[in-house]
């Protein structure tokens, strides 16, 4: 909202996923891939990408923190780019490929970032971790950050209220060195 303060207690009373039915009479069909699986869906247009993965596809690894684009807990990759899934409507992504935390591990092996977060104890409560890891995957793909200072700046969209930042940076540096 106003100055970057997250208010995790706030949820819109009109969040469509909180009601049993969409009830708009104007639902929209959309086909998109999530973690490599094609889904053909009919959605209330108010459904955010975050609510799509959590409520419709039962992929609850992606977290709802502030639901206002201020905390980064909802970060996913859409067509390879990291975005806040809470601030975008799923119906806008016809034909897109979405990757969530559940889609990073390949055939049972942890993604190098997942392993690095474990190696460096880069979390405490873990709530921000899926967003941190998806964001870091986007960061590494962008190739813009080299130093710890640059990683810190380009990871600033992911808030960790436990304050695990030092270990998060170390984990990302480890994964970056091996990528």
């Amino acid at each position: 909202m106003a100055d970057g303060r997250a208010d995790p207690s706030f949820h819109s009373p009109n969040d469509p996923t909180r009601h049993a039915s969409g009830s708009t009479g104007a639902e929209i069909s959309v086909s998109l891939k999530v973690n490599g699986t094609l889904h053909a869906l009919t959605l209330d247009p108010r459904t955010t990408v975050l609510d799509l993965v959590r409520e419709h596809l039962d992929l609850t690894g992606t977290k709802k923190g502030c639901d206002q684009g201020q905390c980064g807990a909802c970060t996913v990759l859409i067509d390879g780019r990291r975005v806040n899934s809470c601030l975008t409507f799923a119906v806008m992504y016809e034909g897109a490929e979405i990757t969530t935390i559940e889609g990073l591990a390949i055939t049972g092996a942890l993604h190098p970032l997942q392993q690095a977060f474990i190696d460096h104890d880069a979390f405490q409560c873990g709530y921000c971790t899926p967003g941190q890891i998806c964001s870091a995957a986007g960061l590494i793909a962008e190739g813009r950050a080299k130093t710890a200072e640059e990683i810190r700046e380009l990871m600033s969209g992911n808030i960790c209220r436990c304050g695990a930042y030092t270990n998060i940076i170390a984990a990302i540096q480890q994964a970056m060195a091996r990528s």
């Binding site: 819109s12 009109n14 209330d44 990291r82 969209g157």
Partner: protein
């Protein structure tokens, strides 16, 4: 969020037809501000027209040596676009000073211009706000106004424009190309955003039935002597208390041309030709910069919690001019202010 109809526009003409059909429709592209405001019930469009498929995603050279940026170019793509980095580094720097990489990956050039203020009271539908509900009063005057404006305010509104990118565009004297039912027009950047006056509900001189197609940069990019300095409550991912975009043209130590714009201090990116004129032909030193700051802030007015911004703006301007004159622009990753 209220229910709305969703549709996709196929081209600019289709987008204009669709918005003409429904006065309460809104275009969505990046959505990073619109969707936030819809969740808060501040924006209540009954139709949302998705314009992300329109062919407005190119950055092209213009015949006069400038650049034309399509309205749908994402903020991160623009900041890392090589001709922007090389010829207009102040713009790249300003973009990277704003939001987070996730948001910059979504937000578009046109949408950045049209984002609304982050005034707490504008967002809080339980409080009076002349911008959200004209005539209801301003809760920020006499309220929590630490983030608010010190220049160009009115008795109706003391909100600030939140953009960093627009501060650089104002300094660079960009032009905004728009298309509407009556054809194409271009708006010089200084005339795009408005001061609040007694109509704070109108942020811009852009009309509801129009669409931004491009932002054009003139040839002069101040690539040698520039800086974008942003001061905020934390090191990253926060709105400006004060920001300054500076471009200088020097002849030895003498200032041939000086331009600057400020963010975080007014309802629009703040340019002041008289303050800039105080620099022209003068030696590039601290005394000259301080005189320009005196002119800039001659009519500044603090409210209960933001009077500190007057001194802060003075220091930021002097520091940014010093950085630009030395050819040592502010880094957006190292936050040490040199």
């Amino acid at each position: 969020m209220i229910e709305f109809q969703y549709s996709r526009a196929t081209d600019v003409a289709d987008a204009l037809r669709q918005i003409a059909d429904n006065p309460s429709a809104k275009f969505v592209a990046g959505g990073t501000n619109l969707i936030d405001l819809m969740k808060m019930d501040v924006e209540r469009p009954t139709k949302v027209i998705d314009i992300t498929r329109l062919p407005l995603k190119q950055v092209e050279d213009t015949s006069d040596g400038g650049l034309r940026i399509g309205a749908l170019v994402r903020n991160s793509d623009l900041a890392y676009h090589a001709p922007i980095e090389q010829r207009y580094p102040v713009l790249a720097s300003a973009i990277l000073a704003g939001a987070s990489q996730q948001l910059r990956n979504m937000a578009t050039t046109g949408g950045n211009l049209l984002q609304r203020t982050r005034c707490h009271y504008f967002y809080d539908t339980s409080t009076p706000c002349n911008k959200r509900a004209p005539g209801s009063g301003c809760s920020a005057i006499g309220g929590h106004n630490r983030m608010h404006a010190i220049l160009g305010t009115s008795d109706a509104c003391i909100a600030v424009h939140p953009s960093d990118m627009c501060v650089a565009l104002a300094m660079l004297e960009a032009k905004v190309h728009v298309t509407g039912a009556s054809g194409d027009r271009s708006i010089v950047f200084a005339d795009f955003h408005r001061l609040p006056g007694d109509t704070p509900q109108r942020d811009t001189n852009f009309d509801a039935g129009e669409i931004i197609t491009a932002v054009e940069l003139p040839p002069k990019g101040f690539a040698r002597n520039y800086s974008y300095l942003k001061v905020r409550d934390r090191l990253s991912y926060a709105f400006a208390l004060v920001s300054v975009a500076v471009g200088l043209e020097l002849d030895g130590d003498t200032i041939k041309e000086a331009r600057f714009a400020l963010g975080g201090v007014a309802h629009k990116p703040w340019r002041d030709p008289r303050a800039e004129a105080a620099l022209h032909g003068q030696p590039a030193n601290a005394a000259t910069f301080a005189r320009a700051a005196d002119v800039l802030l001659r009519e500044a007015r603090g409210y209960e919690h933001n009077t500190f911004k007057i001194d802060l703006a003075r220091r930021c301007l002097v520091r940014a001019l010093t950085q630009a004159a030395r050819g040592t622009p502010q880094s957006q990753s190292s936050k040490k202010i040199a």
